[in-house]
Symmetry: C2
Subunit: 466 residues, 2 copies
């Protein structure tokens, strides 16, 4: 006990002294302690040195009750940055407990992209209340306009704070302008050069600005190889462009072609991870990263996918049902049939996963579909033959019945061939239909492999065995 | 036909005029045409305006034969940057066809991180040959040293080109130094401030340098909230830190504490996506993004996982085998048993996917395991009960046997409860054993849900039905 108390005194509060991640288990435990005994001063001492991102994580990790106490005791420490870092579901709960004016105050220091992130998932009335409370009119307009762009679009991701200058300005003028202006973005890495119609025509990385002598004109040092992002494209596309071209920031244009914002790479790091994760969740039938949701909501979110799966499982059972007579004559078929279905499901999922990601990273294109389909067919056939021999031998030996082995083997080849083909065809068709290739792809595929697996195996058995 | 030829003349070669992605299907087709008719000049005209990343993609998309021709006809256009952008498997093939001295020449313009990326997957003798051909001795040493760090470590990801200055330097001195030095990194966003032991003690973002007057000392404007990265940590950890703290670059230190390099965010965008993708592939049993591998190698790569799956499928069959007598008495059991197993597999995979990602993003920690386990148990129970009622009713109606419905329902509850628990327990145990939580987790889980599903259903049937 006294040991525990001493440990608490030596807490690594900044995170850098002990670990790379500021939010240690010891700190969380200490915070929980202060929340339950109401020691407000100690709580503030513990969390004040935390990075906003770590404080956001801390709030996410607290239980519902604890979060209430936290906001009551240390709500003043929850600034705009912390709000921007908190996960959607948890943020709603926190914002509800804070005064709309305080939230407006907190987010008024943020760049538009972060302000939008805080507001976009709130209920419309609450959103409006906070917007109205924003002290700066032009900021209010900017945030509202960004919120008008569709969810997950570049327009939501961009910040409206950026520096755009005409091409005839000199390096010296530019530097002086930046020294004198106090209305600059918090962080920026490039200056945008625009023409008279305010269209972006080049960028000047800050390091080039620093290395160039004062009289040189921006037009002579600007980078003309621009990657201009229309505000209405999907953020997945934005992530792709940043990754493809190693961008650090990119100009965003409205429908008129005028530059209206900038997207910086730090926002895109999250996008790249989240989009890959989204595919993964969709393939597994999870609606969202639901770790912070309560059990009841989590169960509800996962219910739909399970229901679809039940329907397809019943479909597969109906296939078996057609062969009840066959199974009745040879119960070994019931023992072996799940093997064929399971192998098809696995082989198909392998192809499916590769195809879904290849579509996202543009490695699979309209032009290469036929080529890849040919390959997957061969892969399915190759592994089908190998596993036909393996499984067939096992079955033949097990039941002392070579013919049974041949039936298992034949069904295996058919199912793995079909699995490989449909593992590609399903996501490609969904993609061409403009549906996310990962959605429902898994359940469609297992339906195919279960049905074909049972049908091929029991059908062949009906023909050759009983 | 003439229409096709005209279209070819108006090719969007730079990508910015028509689309956001420079590599259009039309361009690929045109390149293929020049490769087959040997029109070298036209080929160069087509690919010369491409961004290095797009040229790399183009080479990836060509078939084996075409790649040969491409290197023979336009190998001179494959510079260091292009090599750095090409995917591992394809790069090996290309580098093999080029002269070691040409490759050395090409990568000598690159920052160390990109040079390392080009070399790290080559055979050791080939690697050594290229290293030896590097013209600059200090670069040769730097690259070799980076290659000594483990694969996927921060040491491999960092570049050794960075600016580190003492804290007593003024802004003016710093700017003059940068204007006069011609040995600066290609791109940089921050200056690192070091102490007399060359340990990093702060950073100065370039925009702050630009905004500050010349006489001010670096120590007075530097950012002391450093996220220092030890060279031997895993790149997944690096990705986490960049995403968590919205870093743009971070100092990398060796075992002595001295700064030896810098990691920039553009390298991390790939890491974030690749690590999430890696989890996804591992869960599906795909060894790697194998879209560019030939069919034979792809089949081989996926074989191991399928073999493991066969073993576990046979294990599940052995369970059914124990109940052959029961099934023989009531063939309906064979029809219904896959439903119970399939629902457990799906429910478990949902939990598993969330758990694997939550471990990677540090949302699931040692402290919260018990809490999350409690939640997943409740989720499993909730959905278990719902689907027990649904499936039980279907089965009871189908076969006009209420007791059969109860047996299906009971087995469903048991299996979905177990699935939810093991969907969490399996990745957590793997993680605590310091194995990647995604590896083999899927196959372990389906083994559990198949075995428990069949055992519960057939066992209950044996007790109550026959």
């Amino acid at each position: 006990m006294s040991n525990g108390a001493r440990k608490q005194e030596m807490l690594p509060v900044s995170g850098n002294d002990e670990g790379l991640y500021g939010l240690t288990p010891e700190l969380i435990r200490a915070v929980r302690g202060t929340l339950s005994n109401g020691n407000e001063t100690r709580l503030r001492d513990l969390v004040a040195p935390l990075h906003a991102a770590d404080l956001a994580d801390l709030i996410e990790r607290l239980r519902g009750e604890e979060r209430h106490h936290f906001v009551a005791m240390a709500g003043a420490l929850v600034g705009g940055e912390v709000l921007a870092f908190i996960e959607d579901g948890v943020r709603e709960v926190i914002v509800e407990k804070l005064d709309a004016r305080d939230v407006a105050e907190a987010i008024s220091d943020l760049d538009t992209d972060d302000a939008v992130a805080v507001l976009e998932d709130l209920d419309p009335p609450q959103q409006q209340k906070i917007l109205n409370a924003l002290p700066d009119v032009s900021e209010r307009h900017g945030v509202a306009e960004s919120l008008n762009y569709p969810e997950d679009s570049a327009g939501r991701l961009m910040q409206r704070e950026f520096i755009h200058l005409p091409a005839f300005w000199s390096v010296g003028q530019t530097i002086d302008f930046m020294r004198e202006s106090d209305d600059l973005p918090d962080d920026f890495y490039e200056i945008f050069v625009i023409n008279s119609r305010q269209e972006p025509i080049g960028t000047v990385p800050l390091n080039r600005l620093l290395r160039t002598r004062r009289p040189v004109r921006l037009r002579d040092i600007m980078n003309e190889d621009l990657h201009i992002i229309p505000a209405n494209i999907d953020r997945e596309e934005v992530g792709f462009l940043f990754e493809q071209y190693d961008l650090i920031s990119a100009p965003v244009i409205g429908s008129s072609g005028r530059q209206i914002g900038v997207i910086t790479v730090d926002d895109v790091v999250d996008v790249a991870r989240e989009e890959a994760e989204e595919d993964m969740f969709r393939l597994s039938g999870v609606p969202d990263a639901d770790i912070y949701r309560v059990a009841f909501k989590t169960a509800g979110g996962r219910f739909v996918w399970l229901l679809v799966n039940l329907a397809t499982a019943i479909l597969a059972s109906l296939v078996i049902y057609q062969f009840e007579g066959t199974i009745d004559q040879m119960v070994a078929l019931a023992v072996l049939m799940p093997i064929v279905a399971s192998m098809g499901g696995n082989a198909g999922t392998q192809t499916l996963t590769v195809a879904v990601r290849a579509i996202a990273t543009k490695d699979l294109t309209v032009d290469t579909i036929r080529q890849v389909l040919g390959k997957e067919t061969i892969v399915g056939l190759l592994n089908g033959v190998v596993f036909a021999v393996l499984t067939g031998s096992v079955a033949a030996t097990w039941y002392g019945n070579p013919l049974l082995g041949f039936v298992v083997g034949g069904a295996m080849i058919i199912n793995m061939l079909v699995a490989g083909m449909f593992g590609l065809i399903i996501p490609v068709v969904l993609w061409r239909l403009r549906v996310d290739p990962a959605t429902a792809a898994g359940v469609l595929l297992t339906t195919v492999t279960d049905v074909i697996g049972f049908l091929a195996f029991l059908g062949l058995a009906g023909m050759f065995l009983v």
